[in-house]
Symmetry: C2
Subunit: 233 residues, 2 copies
Amino acid sequence: MLKYELIAERIEELIENGQYEAGDKLPSVEILRSEFNVSKSTIINALKSLEKEGLIYQARGSGIYVRNPKRDGYLNLFTADGFSDDLKGHDVTSKVLKIAEIKPEEHIKTQLKLQDNETVYYVERIRYVDGKVFCIETSYFSKNVVLYMNEEIANGSIFDYVENNLKVKVGFTDIYFKIDKLSASDAGHLQLNEGDPSLEYEQIFYTSTGIPFDYSKIIFHYENSRFYIPSVK
Amino acid sequence: MLKYELIAERIEELIENGQYEAGDKLPSVEILRSEFNVSKSTIINALKSLEKEGLIYQARGSGIYVRNPKRDGYLNLFTADGFSDDLKGHDVTSKVLKIAEIKPEEHIKTQLKLQDNETVYYVERIRYVDGKVFCIETSYFSKNVVLYMNEEIANGSIFDYVENNLKVKVGFTDIYFKIDKLSASDAGHLQLNEGDPSLEYEQIFYTSTGIPFDYSKIIFHYENSRFYIPSVK
């Protein structure tokens, strides 16, 4: 864990212990810096990470404010993290339905900026949170970035594997979604009925240098998923 | 329009004209600064605003990259703006169903941090995009910030009124949402059927100094709404 992550965790504890409540103003960067005895840039990085998690808000020129406490079990769509990161404290598991190396269709090739002859890793999974069906995920991974894939990896957190083993720096992600009615086959996977509500989600992950490497379609179980977005003006 | 907004608009034009495409690297801050002949902080503010719109991505130490083009008609949930801002080029209209000054229920009072005796402006609207039903919106406005409200204001963009007339600086917003089935009465307003899919959305807006002033419940028309989130790691 980096130094700024440790500081972020300690500030998070102060908020979770109720020492600072929603709407309260936190001490200034200068005071935090001398309190924790670290550099100004460490404090600034810690505050940035807390801001992305939706724990605090930094108003230019007026201070740092505590936001509403996180709601447990909600997926934070503001940060480009994997589910496992977001649902800390919950048991995230996967069942691999299909894994293969395939030639992707045109739409996927465009999104991942692939050459005509390039193949991708195709992974189809059902994901569970605390044993309940959370979503069906169909992913296409560019082999230029995701150098290797197998069932063992796909059984765990692919996001962690990409970040920690392949040392890929994830930069940003585009999410597009809409609401629809479930098809019979998706309903079967989700243990729901055809025509039940669904959240259909398209997500493209990029490295920090702008290379798209993961195109995923995700269909969420409407009763088992909750979402949170801490936006900033 | 502020100087940085003008610069942001001109960079946006370069992207929309295809001079820079998704994945391309933009010139450095230094070069942009001398090209546009403005201060470094103007360029930095312009880039920040383009980043929030999801047009560019700034990778620390490696440069500024162009993201995928916006999809028209998608609501950007990454920025705490009103719909009208997000759906530029589309005709956003409202029909006011109810407007009143009321004593809010306990849950709303807590979210808006109100005293026991304080009343709120209650506004219930159907909102349309290009003449199609987009959502039903039920809002509670704190009178400490939203000093006045009437039907004429509620017929237009309340967000614009709050920002431009009341000079409120909007800081951040918390969005929580889930998918569900429509109730008979909501289905009636949305011209859909009971049991059809719905996106149920709770949103709390705060001023830049952390004061909550708008608690809204929004139910979207599943066929007429599309959403976009340009997240950053």
